[in-house]
């Protein structure tokens, strides 16, 4: 009984601590929003093309044969993929200078004797030089060029086949060259129009989630996880050994302090999380009934319990304050990533996918998704409940063991 009284006492004390630090709380709570917003802006500006500038690519023709000159003059100053990629012709020195002052992101070199080697079947190598200051653009152009060269390589094989058989037929050389030239052009067209192969249909199911909803939910999930961590860390305070000794004279155990810190963080975390969720639902205009809120609160509480147990365990097991803080940081990042909110868990490697059903963050996020976005009426709490209960027992056991060790 006295144990309970002490827990209540510490809860009150933590509450007061929180109130004393009330000035830093808004900063702490707003900070994750700021960081998430910044990261999103950075990612979006990375993938969306800049309105004024498209990706600039240079073309250097060292071969100067009839075919390449024709090809280059056709492509020069043209745009691919709408106005997304802009190709221009350069000489080699001009291209080098353009990379140095950053006006093009990559340039492509057609080596000497390109066409001759192509016809004869010798090794031909197209070099792509990228700008180290624009890695993403260079990478995209590299991928594009890689797939183009793959196509051209197969076209080349086919032309060589035709050539081989044509040589065995009674055709004179000039005529054969003309035929090959025609085939070369035809295969070029064939290659460039390769997107005709696939007929695309998009399925848009309004009942299931759209990317916007999915990522808003994951944003909320990340946000309230960070809030829980922040409140938990804010409540921490290192106490000197003398203070601990004095407290132990009164019969205070590590476990009691731990439990009260746990409960305070849990309560405040829950309030913030549910408040955020309510905002989210209203902004997105999803229909929600009271029973659904109850389900969400149950899910969120189980998840928070498990998460806080993890954090407390790290605190218990690691003596150095600095190290504990860093490990908690990594733990949070790990939990968030594994939950599938940053990258849908569909895209994880196979070995990881077999472990996923046992991780509580993945499970939680999956069920949150189901209830919130897909309108499911049923949640299977078994895994989360068992994990929560087990982890609480583990926590109590380790706390008691640590207490024994200290005395």
């Amino acid at each position: 009984m006295s144990s309970l009284k002490r827990i209540l006492f510490f809860i009150k004390q933590y509450q007061e601590q929180l109130q004393k630090k009330w000035k830093s709380i808004p900063l702490l709570l707003l900070f994750p929003i700021l960081i998430i917003g910044l990261s999103l802006t950075v990612i979006i500006t990375l993938f969306l093309p800049n309105d004024e500038e498209s990706i600039q690519v240079g073309l250097v023709d060292l071969d100067q044969s009839e075919e390449t000159t024709m090809l280059v003059s056709v492509i020069d100053d043209s745009t691919l993929l709408g106005s997304y990629i802009h190709i221009s012709k350069y000489s080699e020195e001009e291209a080098d200078r353009a990379i140095e002052n950053g006006s093009i992101s990559t340039y492509i070199i057609f080596p000497e004797n390109f066409t001759d080697d192509l016809y004869k079947g010798n090794t031909v190598e197209i070099s792509i030089i990228g700008n180290p200051n624009m890695p993403v653009d260079s990478y995209m152009i590299k991928e594009l060029m890689d797939s183009m060269t793959r196509y051209i390589a197969s076209a080349q094989a086919n032309i060589l086949t035709i050539d081989e058989y044509a040589q065995q037929l009674p055709i004179d050389d000039a005529k054969r060259q003309e035929i090959l030239m025609k085939q070369f052009n035809q295969f070029m067209l064939f290659t460039i129009s390769n997107d005709k192969v696939i007929h695309e249909k998009e399925i848009a199911n309004i009942a299931t989630s759209s990317p916007l909803q999915y990522f808003s939910l994951s944003g909320w999930f990340v946000l309230f996880t960070i809030w829980i961590v922040s409140i938990y860390i804010l409540l921490g305070k290192e106490e000197s050994m003398s203070m601990w000794n004095r407290m132990r004279l009164y019969g205070v155990t590590i476990l009691q302090r731990l439990v009260s810190r746990f409960i305070v963080s849990l309560l405040y975390g829950l309030i913030l999380a549910l408040f955020g969720f309510y905002l989210l639902i209203n902004v997105m205009g999803i229909e929600f009934y009271l029973i659904d809120y109850a389900r969400i609160s149950a899910l969120v509480s189980l998840y928070s319990i498990l998460f806080l147990v993890g954090l407390s365990l790290i605190d218990l097991l690691i003596k150095s304050n600095k190290l504990a803080l860093i490990v908690q940081l990594f733990f949070t990042a790990f939990v968030l990533f594994m939950s599938g909110s940053l990258l849908p868990s569909l895209y994880f490697p196979e070995e990881v996918k077999s472990v996923l059903p046992y991780l509580y963050s993945t499970e939680t996020f999956y069920w949150l998704n189901e209830v919130a976005l897909k309108g499911r009426m049923y949640v299977d709490y078994t895994l989360l409940l068992t994990l929560a209960v087990t982890s609480i027992f583990v926590l109590i056991a380790i706390a008691i063991w640590k207490e024994r060790r200290q005395s």
């Binding site: 500006t45 890695p135 990478y139 192969v197 803080l325 490697p349």
Partner: protein, 380 residues
């Protein structure tokens, strides 16, 4: 100065393991992070549904080669099931090989032989589509070549005639035997071409190292706060040098220590990741180290408790790394807002600048701190 070195060494010898850990943390963390990220990327598998409505040999070969693609995991099923799973977002996309595939290819009409179904959450559709298109294109190309040869035979006569299959087999053989067109990719300042599967171009090794270096520097500089505890501060009044000077000399010792470990870090990183190291980069690293150490020193002077200091340094590290483009390149943002390049010392480091605005500003603040207090004390 020797005395200060001696006292610091005493201090470190009390916790050698902890100091070593902290000094090596950036390198260990960066290596682990980049290795895991690369491993992850190379093992990512995208689940894709395949529906085969044609039962010709060509369709079977096609499905065989598609399932050999390492990027995707093929799940064969019938169409309705596949569409349902696609709607539930358990599959990324669904590809249907339509009935009559072989005939269309052999008749040289390869348009729209495959139907693809995508949902609005299909993030990986483009690379998968590329891969499958290339296989179909190969089949179609071989068939086209065979077509042309047959046409030539009918046009120019001759007593030769080759079977359709024979031509296709020959074409495939040529594709394997002959060394055909390929492309190589290098960055402008690198000597060796990148390997096919190195995903390093996407993860900025230096950026991640900069984040961890920032964090650990700030954490190591908590000695400033510990020195300022009133119980210990009393003994400092017995020194011959002023308090400010004492702090500055200690800061210098730490700076040299961190600098030495920086060089070790950089060596290990360059060997591990095949990055080229030149003099300009080394100077940029030295300048970065200087900036961060002075920043950590001044920042720590502001705090009374280590606890708040740790939290604020974590927040500052995350903030400056995101703004500086350590994790994700911020080129898109800096194109629009030029002033952002000045917002973070990490950004300047990543671009290889030696003299940075941050360095100058921090040096100025340091001088002001050092000289101002002296004057105040002189009047008392």
């Amino acid at each position: 100065m020797k005395a200060i070195l001696y006292t610091r060494a005493l201090h470190w010898s009390k916790q050698p393991f902890s100091m070593i850990c902290w000094l090596f943390l950036p390198i260990i963390a960066t290596c682990t992070f980049v290795t895991i990220a690369n491993q992850w990327q190379s093992e990512t598998q995208i689940p894709v549904g395949l529906v085969i409505e044609d039962d010709s040999i060509m369709a079977e070969n096609l499905s065989q080669s598609i399932s050999d693609i390492s990027l995707i995991t093929i799940k064969e099923m019938n169409k309705d099931e596949a569409l349902v799973q696609l709607e539930q977002h358990q599959l990324d996309s669904v590809f249907v090989i339509k009935d009559g595939y072989q005939e269309s290819i052999q008749n040289n009409s390869r348009n729209q032989v495959i139907t693809a179904y995508v949902s609005d959450m299909s993030l990986a559709y483009s690379p998968v589509k590329e891969a499958i298109t290339s296989y179909v294109q190969q089949d179609a190309g071989n068939a086209k070549a065979a077509h042309v040869v047959e046409q030539l035979v009918t046009e120019y006569g001759g007593d030769k005639s080759w079977g359709w299959e024979e031509i296709i087999v020959r074409s495939k053989a040529i594709q394997e035997e002959e060394a055909l067109l390929h492309s190589t990719f290098t960055f402008y300042d690198q000597m060796e071409p990148e390997q096919e599967n190195s995903g390093i171009t996407l993860w900025n090794v230096w950026g991640i190292w900069a984040f961890f270096a920032f964090l650990t520097t700030f954490f190591i500089y908590d000695w400033v706060i510990k020195e300022q505890r009133s119980a210990i501060k009393v003994r400092l009044s017995l020194l011959r040098i002023s308090f400010r000077s004492y702090m500055l000399r200690n800061a210098f010792v730490y700076l040299v220590l961190l600098g030495m470990f920086d060089l070790i870090n950089v060596l290990v990183l360059s060997v591990y990741f095949d990055q080229s190291i030149n003099l300009a980069q080394v100077i940029a690293i030295v300048s970065f180290r200087l900036t961060i150490s002075i920043g950590a020193f001044l920042f720590a002077l502001y705090f009374r408790t280590t606890f708040l200091f740790y939290i604020s340094s974590i927040l500052a590290a995350i903030f400056f790394s995101v703004i500086g483009g350590a994790f994700i390149p911020i080129d898109g943002l800096t194109d629009r807002y030029e002033w952002l390049t000045y917002a973070s010392p990490i950004h300047a480091f990543l671009k290889g600048q030696v003299i940075k605005a941050w360095l100058i500003v921090l040096l100025v603040i340091l001088f002001i701190w050092y000289w101002r207090k002296e004057k105040v004390n002189a009047y008392r």
